[in-house]
């Protein structure tokens, strides 16, 4: 991200223009002043606009970007959480994680093989899959490595954005055929208990999935936010396992084998496992626990003055619905309920809001989510106690932002540890 950091002085200079014009001071005012249409732009009421077009584009001053740190084949990019509204992530800003680049696959050539412990091994073309009855569901996807940068006591950053920390999170409306509707007619044999899902990329990324999940809410997803799933998200078809860690939602899905045991692939043994105290490591830690992140105020925003500001963010749980999000503006001493913006969907992000009358003094703002199982998003101290300080993945502890008396916002968890 290359948004220029706006100094307080520059902010006040520009912000005062907004106040003078009688505009409501909002989050949008705070940042859009940076990349506004030049003041000498022609009066749009005196000049005809441009005609219709086949594909729309964003306003010139609205150019959110993924954070793509490098060009490695095995790499990731992050969603600009602090720039977005609502719960849906625009498909071209959905986070990426690839293990051998994005394959070029023609939908008409793609096939999905389903075989193993079943009576009728089958090959499906995309037209076959798309002929099945379909469903659409809104679900988040989150990489289990999300948030790993704010777990170490000794390396707690301050000048990091919500995107830096938690941008391996995105939400889409996914359309596809439930895997259970396909499996019910291939004659899965008694004793089957797992599936192996394998991608058609150059890593042939593969993960073992309990059959129970496959028969519950797994989707063979070919649609994303109203259009064909994006190549970066697994075009033409991916496995979607609502609420489960991103890696297991195998993209470019080309093979499912029904088995009676896990295959023990590289990604479910040496990679996405979680060392714990005592010389052991947690394996098959599929579910993403409840979590929330405040997207405003967050670094690098600056609040130009005290008064009313809306604290807002996203909360989600891989175990079901979010039932409550609480906000603290005093470093975690007192908490108040935030509003949950409908729809509040299972295994989906929910937008929360809290109207805050900032008194202009230094404040540490936190959020904590509770899900329908009664799980409360833990503090980092609780996670350290439960899992030790050197574990990997699933770091869903409460985040904090420090609003200085100058209005400058930085990541504030370090002040609480």
């Amino acid at each position: 991200m290359d948004r220029p950091y706006l100094s307080r002085r520059a902010w006040i200079t520009t912000a005062s223009g907004v106040i003078a014009a009688g505009l409501l001071k909002t989050q949008a005012d705070a940042i859009k002043l940076v990349a506004q249409v030049p003041a000498n732009a022609p009066d749009p009421t005196k000049t005809p606009g441009r005609p219709t077009s086949e594909v729309g584009q964003r306003a010139p001053g609205e150019q959110p970007r993924r954070l793509a740190r490098n060009q490695e084949l095995s790499s990731s990019s992050r969603t600009p959480l602090q720039d977005l509204h609502g719960i849906i992530t625009p498909s071209d800003l959905h986070f990426e994680r690839h293990h051998a680049g994005i394959p070029n696959i023609l939908s008409e050539n793609h096939e999905l093989l389903i075989h193993g412990m079943l009576d009728r091994p089958m090959v499906f073309k995309m037209a076959d899959l798309m002929r099945y009855p379909s469903v659409s569901r809104i679900h988040f996807l989150e990489c289990s490595g999300n948030g790993g940068g704010v777990y170490s006591r000794d390396r707690m950053p301050t000048e990091v954005t919500a995107q830096d920390i938690d941008g391996l999170l995105s939400t889409s409306e996914w359309t596809g055929v439930p895997l259970s509707w396909v499996l019910r007619e291939v004659g899965v044999r008694p004793g089957a208990s797992w599936i192996l899902a394998e991608g058609g990329d150059a890593a042939m990324m593969s993960r073992s999935v309990p059959l129970e999940k496959a028969m519950d809410d797994a989707l063979l997803a070919y649609g994303q936010n109203g259009e064909a799933i994006r190549p970066e998200q697994g075009y033409p078809v991916r496995l979607l396992l609502p609420g489960w860690e991103g890696n297991i939602n195998v993209k470019w899905l080309r093979r499912i084998e029904i088995t009676d045991r896990p295959t023990m692939t590289k990604d479910e043994t040496s990679k996405y496992t979680d060392p714990l105290p005592g010389g052991v490591a947690r394996q098959f830690s599929f579910i993403m626990d409840a979590k929330s992140v405040i997207t405003f105020p967050s670094y690098p925003y600056v609040l130009p003055e005290s008064g009313w500001w809306e604290v807002k963010g996203l909360a989600w749980s891989g175990r079901g619905r979010i039932t409550r999000v609480e906000i603290s503006t005093d470093g975690g001493r007192d908490w108040v309920d935030a509003e949950l913006q409908p729809p509040v969907l299972s295994k989906a992000t929910v937008r929360f809001r809290h109207l805050w009358n900032w008194n202009g003094r230094e404040s540490v703002v936190l959020s904590r989510a509770t899900d329908e199982t009664g799980y409360v998003q833990p503090t980092v101290h609780q996670l350290w106690e439960a899992r030790g300080e050197r574990t990997s993945y699933h770091q869903n502890h409460q985040r904090a932002w420090k609003v200085a008396s100058t209005g400058e916002v930085t990541f504030g968890l370090g002040d609480l540890v």
Binding site: S193, E257, R282
Partner: protein, 199 residues
């Protein structure tokens, strides 16, 4: 924490799920227990797609399991593997597998509380995973280029560098699944289950 070995837990899990699945998977019962409701109008079978024959399955069925199922016939020695490693692996994994710049493969010091790098010697629970992964995804720029003999050889060499097989070791479809990996009993099932307890 009780130090269950994963294999015991998985056997229990498999047994439970097998019982359920015998019920769940009968076509007429469709999607009981599923998050989705299939229309009452739906037939027992749509019969979309086409049946896959053995030849087709064999072409794509590449995975290798801990008991050795899926391993092809072949054989490779540590010495043969060393030559292959130098050509295909060294640039990314380092002269002795411990230098990187990409994933560190070699590390033999036993760990008490926490692993260091997730090396084959210290962290990988199954030797068969090496075959499964190398065959499907390595070398990164030319995946699938190694023959079965070459793959067995390079696995023998990596295991030798980790002190797991001797210098005259030979890897094949019989010896590979029998390799005792140091981290074999390190892995425990996920015990998180929602609710108030933080785990």
């Amino acid at each position: 924490m009780t130090r269950l070995t994963l294999v015991v837990a998985l056997l229990v899990l498999s047994a439970c799920e097998a019982e359920e699945n015998e019920v769940v998977l009968r076509p007429a019962m469709a999607t009981e227990g599923s998050a989705y409701t299939l229309s009452d109008l739906a037939p027992d079978r749509f019969s979309f797609g086409s049946e896959a024959d053995e030849e087709r399955i064999a072409m794509w069925d590449i995975d290798v399991r801990p008991d050795g199922e899926g391993l092809p016939t072949g054989s490779g020695t540590v010495a043969e593997g060393e030559a292959i490693y130098a050509v295909h692996c060294m640039a990314c994994h380092g002269p002795t597998g411990a230098e990187g710049p990409y994933d560190v493969l070699v590390g033999t010091e036993p760990w008490e509380e926490w692993p260091g790098a997730r090396t084959v010697g210290a962290y990988w629970p199954y030797a068969t995973t090496l075959y499964d992964f190398i065959h499907r995804a390595m070398p990164q720029l030319t995946p699938g280029i190694l023959t079965p003999d070459e793959t067995y050889g390079v696995i023998a060499y990596i295991l030798y560098l980790n002190g797991i097989v001797p210098e005259d070791g030979v890897m094949n479809e019989e010896t590979l699944p029998a390799v005792a990996m140091p981290a074999r009993d390190r892995f425990v099932p996920d015990d998180r289950e929602g609710g108030p307890e933080v785990r």
